[in-house]
């Protein structure tokens, strides 16, 4: 299979390789069909969900279920499901696009949708046998049945493989008996099927099972009360107790002991889709905020005209733009990767699995970045609304509470930060991404005298691209030296890993925005793309500042003397602009466009 991987960018490779803007997919590249699907989803959400936001805040769980059924009727639960199992067989980009626009109005629906189509359905699609798929997938793809995913336990959260739930084979060898307790199970209240992870005997790894659930005939399954939560008020979240629940042996998912792998692979998809689920949420908050800011008069002036408010509008719009750019860039890379594997003879299932796994680093990066940007966006949204933002009568308050969960589930952001760097180092050790060569080259560069020529920056975003290249060097310098110093003990230096991860995240996100703006400037002209260019510049400036800070923190933590001085010099050199952008002017320009359009408009 290695031959198919040569000419396509590998996951994680962005940190050592430059990407040409022509080779990234951007939201401006959606096909007419994709746009039509997006518009349909938007129309549905605007008509049926957004006006009913108060019902979602009043814990109307039945309403969530009703909307989920309607999504099923529109075909939206089967987007990623192959046609032979009653779905639409759409590619990864379309899957992300649909998830993006379904998820913006309320986190309750976003969670129900994500849990059902992602972790609820995917494990069967990715690991099920033909019989299992024929039996369950058509029901899940149409919304006749709903799925839930039972991994977390009271004693096993981030340490997901440590669960105590047991599966014991019956004497006749025909069933497993499941016993144990699961916690925080989304969709539990209305699901018909659960993916349950349990341990057989004293296995090192857990095993996955498909467990049917019928409230009339509960088979030893009892549900706890609905949890009282900060947000996503109409997403059903309950404990699930299993007491001698009989599961036919043919309902084991994949092989014994493969559960942890299933869980992790389902989470890869879940993570990138969670990033998508944070996009329209940001767009809606921005649009609502700017509408309010244009109407709210204080000191005889619409508050949108105040610089302090402009700064906020520009920053949140920029982050939404950046997150869109990176999410769809990665989505297309995954889609291409899956296609390349199919072309090389992999089964659909295998191709899908490996295609996403290849980009697990990007999935983690996106999950962290988009969930934190979404949180910040809703926070600034409240601030723009002032006192009204704090009132449950405006949409900001719920948006803020709903955004909070995205930093916790599908692997906390801390776990995902550590994973992003950890997986990259693992890839390097396997020889899939060459970190060592470039890291050595950076070391050599540090010893040499820097060039004082002023390069030609006449090409659009060329200075920004040069800086981006240098930011990659910061990561290589920090992570390379730290790995060299600590070896396998690096894992224990979590704050260092967090800093390295922040650098990695900033680089991927900044690069995605720059490439999108550059691609559009090249095809539509610089004038037509001036706002995208400004956002890419503003974001890069913020990234440089953050990387400077995190880089310093990291370097000082593990080096001393000459080595430290050299690396700090390097950091300075790698974060240096020839022409500093006037970010206040950039913010004004971006904000004025958004306020003029009275909505998020990029």
């Amino acid at each position: 299979m290695e031959t198919v991987q040569q000419d396509i960018t590998r996951g994680g490779q962005f940190i050592v390789k430059d990407t040409a803007c022509e080779n990234v997919f951007t939201p401006e590249d959606f096909s007419e069909e994709q746009q039509m699907m997006r518009d349909s989803v938007k129309e549905f959400i605007d008509k049926e969900v957004w006006p009913n936001k108060p019902r979602f805040e009043k814990k109307d769980y039945a309403f969530t279920e009703e909307i989920m059924k309607k999504l099923g009727e529109l075909g939206l639960l089967g987007i990623a499901v192959p046609e032979e199992y009653g779905g639409l067989g759409m590619g990864f980009v379309t899957t992300m696009l649909v998830c993006d626009y379904i998820s913006g109005a309320t986190g309750s629906l976003a969670t129900a949708f994500g849990a059902h189509t992602g972790i609820g359905t995917l494990p069967i699609l990715l690991y099920g046998t033909a019989t299992q798929k024929e039996k369950y997938i058509p029901k899940l793809a149409t919304g006749e049945w709903f799925g839930a995913y039972c991994l977390t336990e009271p004693g096993a959260g981030s340490d997901a493989n440590s669960g105590k739930t047991k599966a014991t084979l019956s004497e006749d060898g025909k069933h497993y008996h499941i016993n144990g307790q699961k916690m925080w199970i989304s969709n539990a209240g209305f699901c018909n099927l659960m993916i349950v992870f349990a341990r057989i005997e004293d296995d090192k790894n857990i095993t996955g099972f498909i467990v049917e659930y019928d409230a009339e005939n509960p088979n030893g399954i009892t549900l706890g009360e609905e949890e009282h939560k900060l947000g996503i008020h109409s997403s059903s979240t309950r404990q699930v107790f299993f007491s001698d629940t009989k599961v036919p042996v043919e309902n084991m998912l994949s092989e014994r002991g493969n559960g942890f792998k299933i869980a992790m692979n389902a989470l890869n998809v879940g993570r990138i889709k969670l990033a998508a689920a944070c996009l329209d949420a940001q767009r809606r908050v921005i649009t609502e905020s700017v509408k309010y800011a244009n109407e709210r008069i204080q000191f005889k002036t619409p508050i949108a005209k105040f610089g302090a408010i402009k700064g906020k509008i520009a920053e949140i719009a920029t982050k939404a733009f950046v997150d869109e750019s990176a999410s769809y860039r990665a989505a297309k890379a995954i889609e291409d990767r899956i296609q390349a594997r199919i072309d090389a003879g992999n089964s659909h299932q295998e191709a899908e699995l490996k295609g996403v796994e290849e980009f697990a680093i990007e999935c983690s990066i996106l999950k962290v970045a988009a969930s934190e940007d979404c949180q910040n966006c809703t926070d600034e949204g409240i601030q723009i609304f002032g006192g009204m933002g704090f009132s449950a009568d405006t949409p900001m308050e719920a948006a803020w509470r709903d955004a909070r969960i995205a930093r916790i589930y599908e692997g906390t952001n801390e776990i995902n930060r550590m994973l992003s760097v950890g997986m990259l180092i693992k890839k390097a050790m396997k020889g899939h991404v060459d970190l060592l060569g470039p890291a050595m080259a950076v070391k050599d560069e540090l010893m040499s005298i820097p060039s004082f020529d002023i390069p030609d920056y006449s090409e659009v975003l060329s200075e920004e691209k040069e800086i981006l290249g240098k930011l990659k060097k910061v990561f290589l310098m920090v992570a390379g030296s730290a790995a060299q110093k600590y070896g396998t003990e690096l894992e224990q230096h979590q704050q260092l890993l967090m800093a390295a991860s922040d650098i990695l995240i900033e680089v991927y996100m900044a690069e995605s925005a720059i490439l999108r703006a550059e691609k559009n400037a090249k095809r539509n002209g610089e004038e037509a793309s001036k706002y995208q260019i400004a956002m890419a510049q503003l974001n890069l400036f913020n990234a440089v500042e953050k990387i400077n800070n995190k880089g310093k923190e990291a370097i000082i933590s593990f080096s001393e003397g000459d080595e430290q001085r050299m690396m700090l010099m390097g950091l300075k050199r790698f974060t240096k602009y020839t022409n500093m952008p006037n970010v206040i002017a950039l913010r004004n320009m971006i904000a004025e466009k958004v306020t003029e359009e009275n909505k998020y408009c990029f």
Binding site: E32, M36, D39, S40, L74, L88
Partner: protein, 248 residues
């Protein structure tokens, strides 16, 4: 029953309207286009005839290639095929002439158009089309039933409704009421995928005759600020209405 639904491709109602070329052309820059709302009500009723009475539904538009996404949306909602007359519509007469040719050649029993389009609001096309094709005509149609070759149509009239019995072939100019807002359909995903496979025939126009010409466009004057007049100060109110607003 063969139904033809006329689809006009119009700016979304929330669009900002601007003009170019010395106020003689509508500026389509940054404008979102949609199916004319009256036509969408008509199309939805046609879908009902298709599903309940086995009718076939063809949609037609006179317009350039840029209208095709709008046509494909109508196909995604469920129309069977589409025809586009490849011409920039120059006036209602021209559009009606071109549509008449399609109607005659295709032997349609029922033509559903909108009462008016929300772009140029001419309200002329359906009437002219009925005349050119020698069909019966009901305008302002808010209800329509077909039994064999007879039709019962309800028309909105000042202060009430009029029920009309007539026969096919028939042209209706419909509006909200022929179906309600809640009946409108959002294209489902399968419909969108199938739309790609449905026939969209492009025909060249047969005439270039038009009888009117747009001399220029002008936007309505911007609304002034509201002035509040004290309820006891009738003299001031009368003076303002007379001298400033010039309405009395």
């Amino acid at each position: 029953m063969k139904i033809l639904v006329c689809i006009s491709h119009v700016p979304d109602t929330t669009s900002k309207i601007n003009f170019t070329d010395g106020d003689t052309k509508f500026d389509t820059n940054g404008v979102q286009f949609v199916i004319n709302p009256n036509d969408e009500f008509g199309l939805t009723r046609a879908m009902w005839f298709k599903e309940k009475q086995g009718a076939s539904v063809t949609i037609v538009n006179v317009g350039g290639p840029e209208t095709e996404p709008t046509l494909r949306k109508a196909l995604a909602i469920g129309a069977d095929e589409a025809i586009r007359i490849n011409a920039t519509p120059t006036d209602g007469f021209f559009v009606a002439k071109e549509l008449a040719k399609v109607v005659s050649e295709g032997n349609y029993d029922l033509v559903i158009a909108g009462r008016e389009s929300i772009d140029y609001n001419g309200g002329m096309v359906p009437g002219m089309l009925a005349t050119f094709t020698d069909a019966n005509f009901v305008n302002m149609c808010i209800g329509l039933e077909i039994e064999g070759t007879s039709a019962t149509a309800i028309r909105e009239i000042d202060g009430g409704k009029e029920t009309i019995s007539t026969n096919l072939p028939l042209v209706v100019g419909c509006q909200k009421g022929i179906v309600e807002e809640k009946d409108l359909r959002i294209p489902n995903m399968r419909g969108i995928m199938m739309a790609r496979k449905k026939q969209l025939t492009v025909l060249e126009p047969s005439t270039s005759e038009s009888h009117t010409k747009i001399a220029s466009f002008e936007k309505p004057a911007a609304k002034g600020a509201v002035k509040l007049v004290d309820k006891d100060n009738l003299d001031e109110l009368i003076s303002l209405l007379h001298n400033e607003a010039k309405v009395i």
